[in-house]
Point group: C2
Chain length 427, copies 2
């Protein structure tokens, strides 16, 4: 099956928002085994939208439209599709009830004991309860505009609201179960997530597999400081698809070894690190200079991080490094704040003061200023103190201030992961 994506919204053409929906839906369609050859963005303009729908009908089996389902007069996706297909719009009582109860939940005083409150659900909201005759209504659990599946001769139209917080859960819960029946095969995919090897090196290491790929396919996904490979296999049933994937995953595991931190799509690096620390009942503290809190901020991304992560110091000034982490003023004088020695003392000091089992420290030059020939922008020292031992990693990152700091965070998480693995799991 081929899919064409039409993103509707003048705000996209003006650049008011980034079209992350297109990215999300591309990934989902690839995972379903559908081929996508065209993505179109048009504004809230009936003529151009109708034209885009007609063009898409000539070259795709499934047409996904996002946006333009809301209450305002600019929202014309449903209306335009109805015209193109020559089908009428009718009131859907079920949607009408849901819209009312949505407003009552969000604004408890709406339409209740407030004569003037009656005006609060403005008339245009009921436009959202109109559906194309004989279409399937998909409830919106996170907003007022429902989604729709419209079957028309051999074509399928999937209509989704624009806000990602409404679109994503609706696609996952309402559309994927429907679309599965159009898969000619069952697809299973696994994600191999790698840290500590650059993208081009990682690709080179499995170039023979990538070149020979057919089923399963291996697709690289770029992420700052990480490399992800999605391995996808299609077969007549899940068991066969999984059987196709397994040897490829095992091969990747044997090639990348400790560099793989997970093979689960949903597990992030910070989750893998927290999980590893939890497994060994270890507590963690952080001492950050150039990352300035981004490392701990990322650790706290993980709900339940509080079992493991106790505290962190942002010692941006030299004085703070001395005061809180007991870094030696002489060391700072002699080697500078960005040095192996300072990183080492930061991690050791942090462990001592916090009483945590593992401490990680980051100090570096994020730029754009502050670099020199000996210590260029991008030079970062990361230290991990664990069980009386301190490991320091020296890195030279490229990119702007933001990129250097992001890469430092990933490298710090990865160093903790490696140190725990080496101390507790690899002998």
């Amino acid at each position: 099956m081929t899919v064409e994506l039409i993103s509707v919204g003048t705000e996209l053409l003006l650049g008011n928002i980034v079209n992350t929906n297109a990215n999300y839906l591309s990934v989902q369609c690839a995972k379903l085994g559908f081929s996508m050859y065209h993505q179109i963005t048009v504004g809230d303009n009936e003529g151009r939208l109708a034209e885009a729908i007609k063009t898409a009908m000539n070259r795709a089996d499934i047409i996904i439209l996002t946006g333009g389902l809301g209450p305002t007069s600019d929202d014309i996706t449903k209306e335009t599709l109805a015209k193109v297909l020559g089908r009428e719009l009718i009131m859907d009582e079920h949607s009408k009830k849901r819209i009312l109860s949505y407003f009552e939940r969000i604004y408890p005083d709406v339409n209740r004991n407030l004569p003037e409150g009656l005006a609060k659900i403005t008339e245009n909201n009921w436009k959202q309860a109109l559906k194309i005759k004989d279409s399937i209504v998909i409830d919106n659990e996170n907003g007022t505009a429902p989604g729709y599946i419209v079957e028309d001769k051999s074509k399928i139209f999937i209509l989704l609201p624009g806000p990602p917080s409404e679109m994503i859960p609706m696609f996952e819960n309402g559309m994927i179960p429907y679309l599965r029946k159009y898969q000619d095969k069952v697809f299973v995919s696994k994600m191999v997530k790698i840290c500590g090897i650059g993208e081009s090196k990682a690709e080179t290491m499995i170039m023979d597999l990538i070149n020979a790929q057919n089923n399963p396919t291996i697709a690289p996904y770029a992420k700052t400081g990480e490399v992800h490979f999605r391995v996808t296999a299609g077969a007549d049933n899940y068991k066969d698809a999984e059987a196709l994937i397994e040897p490829v995953i095992n091969e990747l595991k044997s090639r990348f070894g400790i560099n793989i931190y997970t093979t689960s799509e949903d597990v992030t690096l910070e989750q893998a690190v927290i999980e590893l620390l939890r497994r060994h009942k270890l507590t963690l503290s952080t001492a950050e200079s150039c990352t300035g809190g981004l490392l701990s901020g990322r650790i706290v991304n993980v709900s339940g991080a509080s079992d493991v992560f106790m505290e962190g110091f942002i010692t941006y000034s030299n004085n703070a490094k001395i005061k809180y982490l007991n870094v030696d003023a002489d060391i700072l004088d002699k080697y500078g704040a960005v040095s192996e020695e300072t990183a080492r003392q930061m991690a050791k000091g942090c462990a001592k003061v916090s009483g945590c089992d593992v401490s990680v420290a980051v100090t570096g030059i994020a730029g754009p200023t502050g670099g020199s020939i000996e210590k260029p922008v991008g030079l970062v020292y990361i230290a991990c103190h664990i069980k009386g031992k301190t490991v320091v990693s020296k890195r030279n990152f490229r990119g702007n201030r933001e990129k250097i700091r992001e890469q430092s965070v990933v490298a710090a998480l990865d160093l903790v992961r490696r140190c725990v693995l080496e101390t507790y799991e690899i002998s």
Copy 2:
């Protein structure tokens, strides 16, 4: 002038990367006063790309193509456009020299004293030095693939490399100066950035201006916890355009008052806060619980933040709040870690321990677990201590863990801003 954007790359259709280029170029074209009605994404496929080019030529004056200029056999944008236009590709010696010197800069040992090194610049790299005959070559300062401007009868083609780090500087430095001559007017825009008012309330406050807009136009841009309005005016010259903008900016200033933190496009909230603190020679420290370092991480986004920002504490555990910030254990027992009292003590303690002029503290429930009826997920207390006074702001944020934490960071920066303004500038 109308512009059509064609993004080329199978990696976009598979969802391997988000198309942020489309967003960037949409904004730039809007600022140039060009109209964009269609954006297309196609894969690295000659037939479909040629079709997209022909379609675009039928409906736009300027066609911007991104991606597909690299060295691999998948990169076919230039080759396909040459075929569509019936023009030949010729070697550009200038580009060839630049590519060589780029490799020499990045890999100093390439092709030098290393017989086998000769193979390091692989043959396919010279493909990047081919240009469409009589086109204008735009140097790439951040990579090997140059960009091009191709004039063909009444149409203009702008070819840009795909990586944003190469594309953006090239568009700014190489393409905008060229495109300016196709502006029928001169456009000037200013950005009014607002914090502390929700998007729908902010729009309502100026709905009369938005409805009446024509020249200047007012366009809202969404950003977590902030509202931005871009005001753009077109005129025959800069002076006239600026004269058109000025009264609108003044009107927005009078309506939004202290809620506006800048009217400069390039200034972020954290920059505005750092600048304000620097102006009053004030130092800052942070104490974070639920944001776990994101607040300080964002402050350190600003190069040169070290003049102002000294240190931060991530007191994720209760014990850390007591140990470092001298929060009273009884207060934690009686009111809980997420309470006005705890936030107040965190900010006061942080100021005392750090010796900074201003301290800001955040404690809240980011979820998804940990909420209760009295203290629901999204409840966040933010406290700012300044000149012996502590102000506490209670907020109820909506959204997932990430959104709640991001909104908390923005609210904390905004509270610092307001407290400094009220203490030092508004009497």
